[in-house]
């Protein structure tokens, strides 16, 4: 069986950044396994700009951002296999994969980094009533068709869900000559970034209908129309508010779900709030030597943070290998608890001894919160705080905990992140 120090599952932004950071931390024998025919993952179809402001201090498009990291991988001579589907990973880190040149093969990994990304919530998961005609696409599928395959999926379009991909596609389809009639959002607020609402909808006069959903889909072979209705505070359609839209295309942009089939199968503990692995400060899952980063861990808004997080996972994987791949986990696990808003935190536990210069704790809130303070308590003592004029579920939050803070609290038992009145 082939042996590699670190096997990275996925060659998207997370996998590439993890590989580069692991290599720079001194790891040798790194292998990236990528399902698609090219490195870069979803960035290849995200041809719009706005990537890389944090990482490269300039605004890049998705393919440009991917190319920068792919270049770094190639410069370092890091091995990667394209068109390669990982089928199984054992808790002992034997990876089974297949591709057209090697057939079915096994690789023994010192450490594994899970970087499989996420998938879109499908129509089946949304329970939309009506017929099942052609013309209903996830926003990401439409994005791939338009930007990579050169097809226009339709001429008259309604979009359900105001996630960023849906907003981006509203602009993209409009520029390509389609008419986007409306974007309907079930919630009373948008799940997308403000900038996208302004530059993708307002710029083109596309209405955003908050507290609206699709209550009927018409057309037997091809979509002929959809019916939207307003919903009440319990998200139930209000009778009498129905509006009909004649259209040939419906795009769904209703959330992303981390893709953890492999993780679940190998027995990695999953956090029901994120649908991603439960991890510690090293982004190590419940199985020692198995790390996770990027959208497989929790869905991000900005790729820059994916790269940053994945680099941390790559360094941690390199350190694990350098330590001789210990079977048993040693050290402490101080839990991070939350109150007043955060739905989850990544990581969930901290071993203060393994915190580098600082630890980034990322989280999302469950609803729109205004004029709040994000306070951090170490065993009940407030050690950090930051005012936040507004927080929304669509924008990831983070707090930075310095190494010095942990050093000053050697007997630390509990960390709590509370969202409180400012």
């Amino acid at each position: 069986m082939e042996r590699y120090d670190i096997v990275i599952i996925g060659g998207g932004p997370a996998g590439l950044a993890a590989a580069v950071a692991a290599c720079d931390a001194g790891a040798h024998g790194i292998l990236i396994l990528e399902r698609d025919g090219q490195l870069g993952g979803i960035l290849n179809q995200c041809i719009h700009n706005g990537f890389g402001l944090h990482t490269f201090q300039e605004e890049l498009t998705g393919p440009e951002y991917a190319a920068r990291f792919a270049e770094q991988v190639k410069q370092r001579g890091i091995e990667y296999r394209l068109g390669t589907m990982v089928l199984d990973i054992t808790p002992g880190r034997t990876v089974t994969a297949m591709n057209r040149t090697d057939g079915l093969f096994e690789v023994q990994a010192g450490a594994v980094v899970l970087a499989m990304g996420c998938r879109e919530r499908s129509r089946g998961a949304l329970n939309i009533p009506g017929y099942r005609p052609a013309g209903v696409y996830s926003a990401g599928t439409a994005q791939r068709l338009v930007n990579c395959e050169g097809y226009l999926p339709g001429r008259r379009v309604v979009i359900l869900g105001s996630g960023d991909i849906g907003l981006i596609m509203a602009r993209r389809l409009t520029l390509e000559g389609a008419e986007v009639l409306a974007v309907a959002e079930l919630m009373p607020y948008s799940g997308g970034l403000k900038r996208n609402i302004v530059q993708c909808l307002d710029d083109f006069g596309i209405p955003l209908k908050l507290s609206h959903t699709v209550v009927d889909i018409q057309g037997k072979q091809r979509l002929t129309g959809v019916t939207l209705a307003q919903v009440d505070e319990h998200n139930k359609p209000i009778p009498g508010t129905e509006e009909h839209y004649a259209c040939d295309t419906l795009l769904l942009s209703c959330g992303l779900i981390p893709e953890n089939e492999l993780s679940r199968k190998m027995g990695v503990a999953i956090d029901p709030a994120t649908n991603g692995p439960v991890v510690n400060e090293s982004l190590e899952t419940s199985i020692p030597g198995v790390f996770a980063a990027g959208n497989v861990l929790h869905v991000h808004d900005l790729v820059d943070y994916v790269s940053e997080e994945a680099a941390a996972a790559g360094r941690a994987a390199a350190a694990y290998v350098a330590a001789g791949c210990p079977v048993e986990r040693s050290g402490r696990a101080v839990p991070i608890r939350t109150a007043g808003g955060p739905r989850y935190t990544v990581p969930r536990t901290v071993d203060p001894a393994r915190v580098g210069k600082a630890l980034t704790v990322r989280f999302r809130v469950g609803g729109v919160l205004k004029n709040k303070c994000v306070n951090v308590y170490f065993d009940g003592e407030r050690v950090a705080g930051r005012r936040r004029p507004v927080m929304a579920p669509g924008e990831m939050e983070q707090v930075l905990l310095s190494k010095a803070l942990f050093d000053a609290h050697p007997a630390l038992q509990t960390i709590e992140i509370r969202v409180e009145e400012a």
Binding site: G37, Q38, N44, I47, H48, N49, E59, L60, T61, P63, E64, A67, V146, N147, C148, E149, G150, R172, L175, E176, L193, K194, R195, I197, V198, Q199, D202, D203, P389, V390, M391, A392, E395
Partner: protein, 123 residues
């Protein structure tokens, strides 16, 4: 020209302040609703000279991967009102592989003075 007002949403931060700009004879005389100076700067630019980067794709011939298109962008901002002109001008363009990131796909797109460049390598 008389007094007129324009309603905007600031994109400076997640707060998304609703900003009202008052114009007299095309000149900004008042900005209200913003909570910080960034909001005012954004609103002034947005009503007097709104610009955008345009990203789209053009046809590519002879790609080894069989890719039909290559993504591209305007190298700098173009006036917001010219976005469709740029996209329309690119409809007639087919580039030949290989293409490198930064290669000019269309010079001075639609008379904006801005070049459109490739954003992906295609072999």
């Amino acid at each position: 020209m008389a007094k007129q007002t324009q309603e905007l949403t600031c994109i400076g931060c997640p707060l998304g302040c609703p900003v009202t700009v008052t114009l007299e004879d095309g000149r900004v005389t008042a900005v209200a609703g913003n909570t910080c100076p960034r909001g005012e700067a954004y609103a002034r630019k947005e009503v007097t000279n709104p610009t955008r980067i345009v990203t789209t794709t053009v046809r590519v011939a002879g790609a080894r991967s069989g890719a039909p298109t290559v993504p591209c962008k305007t190298r700098a901002d173009v006036p917001k009102g010219r976005m469709f002109d740029v996209v329309r001008a690119l409809r007639a363009v087919t580039v030949c592989a290989p293409v490198r990131i930064g290669d000019v796909v269309l010079a001075d797109a639609a008379g904006t003075g801005v070049d459109v460049v490739a954003t992906k390598d295609v072999d």
